[in-house]
Symmetry: D2
Subunit: 186 residues, 4 copies
């Protein structure tokens, strides 16, 4: 049997190293865009989309109007809105198509990815680099022992939850009151 504690330690060490190497200024720029936006849209695929949905849900509790592309009651995007793209490689077809359309509607586009020089760059106003190995790995990135792009998806979730924690501290939000606006039918 492989040791649980070794495997868990490996993963949390990878996450600490990754989040520690994110450029703080990129985070502050993204946070400003979120605060400025009327509505915040999210787009991604697979496990990346799951991380983005978790971020959208938490930010909604904090008063940010969040939506993900493809949801049942998705409003029109406007020039006052922000689209956050999650895509490690920056080459995934669906997010690229959506980012192009968002720019046609003059929305702001933020990209959280691993590669600032990807095809997504043409549509990106604000880039946050998560420095991990993706399929298109670059020198200087955290080399993960985990399968596929797990480290990117985990880091993305934690990065979003870090933004949530920063907003709570900055605005002195009372965490007990958050439950009042939470879904009460589950």
């Amino acid at each position: 049997m492989v040791s649980y504690s070794e495997a868990a330690k490996k993963i949390t060490e990878e996450l600490s190293a990754t989040l520690n190497q994110v450029d703080e200024n990129e985070i502050y720029s993204l946070l400003e865009e979120i605060k400025k936006a009327d509505k915040v849209f999210f787009v991604g695929v697979g496990r990346v989309l799951l991380s983005l949905k978790a971020i959208a849900k938490r930010l909604a509790h904090l008063g940010v109007k969040t939506y993900f592309v493809g949801q049942i009651t998705e409003p029109a995007i406007t020039e006052k809105d922000l689209l956050i793209v999650g895509s490690g490689s920056g080459e995934t077809a669906f997010p690229l198509t959506i980012a192009e359309k968002a720019k046609q509607h003059h929305a702001t586009v933020a990209h959280i990815g691993t590669n600032p020089e990807s095809s997504m760059r043409a549509y990106t106003d604000c880039f946050v680099k998560i420095p991990v190995s993706s399929k298109l790995s670059l020198p200087g990135e955290i080399k993960s022992e985990q399968p596929m792009t797990s480290l990117f998806e985990q880091s993305l979730l934690l990065l979003g939850d870090t933004l949530a924690l920063m907003i709570i501290k900055e605005q002195n939000i009372d965490m007990k009151e958050l439950w009042q606006h939470h879904a009460n039918l589950e």
Copy 2:
């Protein structure tokens, strides 16, 4: 501006402390049940469900037959199958209903939660405790500075990805080959 690096450090420290306090034997029992099962079903709500879906997706890449309750093409559960319930409090109505039904069909039920003495206990064959504060907090748990149940949802995702890493190491799975069975239409 609240410091990004402090907020990120806080979150990764909470996660390391939490995963470090999980009982290894509970993990090994859960892993055995996953390996023994014909099919593995997942049930949860909200952000917990998102973590479970991410786990289901990764385990599917490793050859485990995974489903979540409510998915479009959900098969019948049988006595050879495992239901994994994600519920911090162990009191959420929907997972309780599903766990009861799973036992009526003689499936094995695993519960990942914070409280071994919850209502879920009546249906649980295998319990894994994530020792964090939930709404019903207990002495001895990690006290989180994060909002709501973020720490539980994050820990759940990482715990699932730890299981994936253990399976990969145990079975010497070649990570490059994993991409072959991955969705190729995205």
Copy 3:
């Protein structure tokens, strides 16, 4: 080869007969509740949920604030809101749990089903009968040649779209303008 035109004729005849036997007054009561409500929530499972999501999406285009239980950014329900339950038998566990919770929050509950005497009755303020055979079939219902509960799910979708058409005609909504509020990123 079974004839397409015979099979299609069978289905459209079943639908015409079913919608023709719905009690108009039940429809008018439901329509009033939708117009009165601050927010309209939908709950159901399986193909019924798919029909409800389609209704929620179309009504949202007409200015109704619609949500489905379990969606990522689901607000709290209040006494000014309406929950619409889709359940043929009125005995499905999940909708029953949610309807009970909605009544605890003093919301109005509407049930679209086949059986006015089901367990759902305890929570229902407004019932609309779709008179088709379900697993618990009653005398006087349309007997369907289709599998499972297909006729209920189809009738539910068309009933919702009939409500949409009634709202459009009543409020003289310009259909070309509807596209302006439609998602523009797809």
Copy 4:
């Protein structure tokens, strides 16, 4: 109050007229492709996707291996598989991207739409025309009084359920047995 019975009659008449004008041979070709395929994938957006999911769910009960693009546990598509695209206009960006990828993997592509001369044509092996007005309306189509593309989405669901009924009659499937393979946790 606008009359319910008039509105419902209008919708069912539109549906009968539409399904009646579908070319039977196009249906038989599609049915052959479904029967020949190892796996059947579905792609669409919005309410069209909801209709496709309902079709996928019903066909799965009849033994067809169905998936929709973007689902949590989506397998790789191969040259033995079929992709069914639902897109009225045949110009929606996401289905076009996916159809192009499906052809790169040598899968068969079927398109259910309103316009045989759309951009989708480049990737389509098998086309089924639902002759209704879309945004890009053509002469000879059914002119709908319903908003947006409701008539297309309804017709698509009924067309899929017609295929299901044809399979049941052709294979003499016992409808009572279908419930045995149905999800039993709801």
